[in-house]
Symmetry: C2
Subunit: 114 residues, 2 copies
Amino acid sequence: MSDRLPLQVRSKVWLEIDGEPLLGSGREELLRLVRECGSINAAAAGMGIGYRKAWTSIDAMEKRLGFPLVTRQRGGRGGGESALTSEAVDLLERYDRLTEGVREEVDRKFAEIF
Amino acid sequence: MSDRLPLQVRSKVWLEIDGEPLLGSGREELLRLVRECGSINAAAAGMGIGYRKAWTSIDAMEKRLGFPLVTRQRGGRGGGESALTSEAVDLLERYDRLTEGVREEVDRKFAEIF
C-alpha cells in the first residue's frame, strides 16, 4: 500500500497526571538538554524555543508533580546555571526506558503491514 | 513512583500522508462504525459527533488518499445507507494490525517501570 501512497507512521507515548499532560518527547528533550547543557537558557536555545517557554514547561511539570525538577540559580546572563534534581533524573530515566523501542517496534510493524 | 503519584501513561499511533494526519484512533472508530452500522449518520451518533463532522472527516481522508472509502447513498432521513469500499476495509484491517498490542505493550512496560 505504501508503494502506491506516501504513507508514514507516527507514534507517541506520554505521561499524564490527573488527565493533564506531564511528560512527552518535547519535555523529555528539554530536561535532557538541561542536564547536558547545565542551563535552561542553553537547553531552550538547543530546542529553538525561548527561555520563558522552557521555564514555563518546567514550572508546569513541577507544579503537577509537587517537587522540583531543576535547581535554578538566578542571575547572570541567561539565568545562571541549572541542574536536574535526582527526582528529575529518575523520572527521565524511567520515561526513556518506557519509550525505548516503542517507535522502532511500530515502524517495524508498519514496514511489514503497509 | 506511581504509588506516590497519580501517573498515567498514554500512547497513540497514527498514519500520515505528506506530513498531514490521515488515520488515527478517532477516524478508525468512525470507519469501523460506518461498517458496523451501515450509515454515516448512525456512526456519527455512535461517536457523539454530528453528521457534518463525520462526513468532513471521511472527505478529508478520501481527498488525501485519492480514492473513496465510503459509498454514499444520499437522500432519505439521515443521509441514506453507506458501506465501506474494499479499499477502506483493507486500510482499516492494516491499521488495526499495526496498532494491535502497541497500547497493551506500553501499558505493561509502564506498570513495570513506574
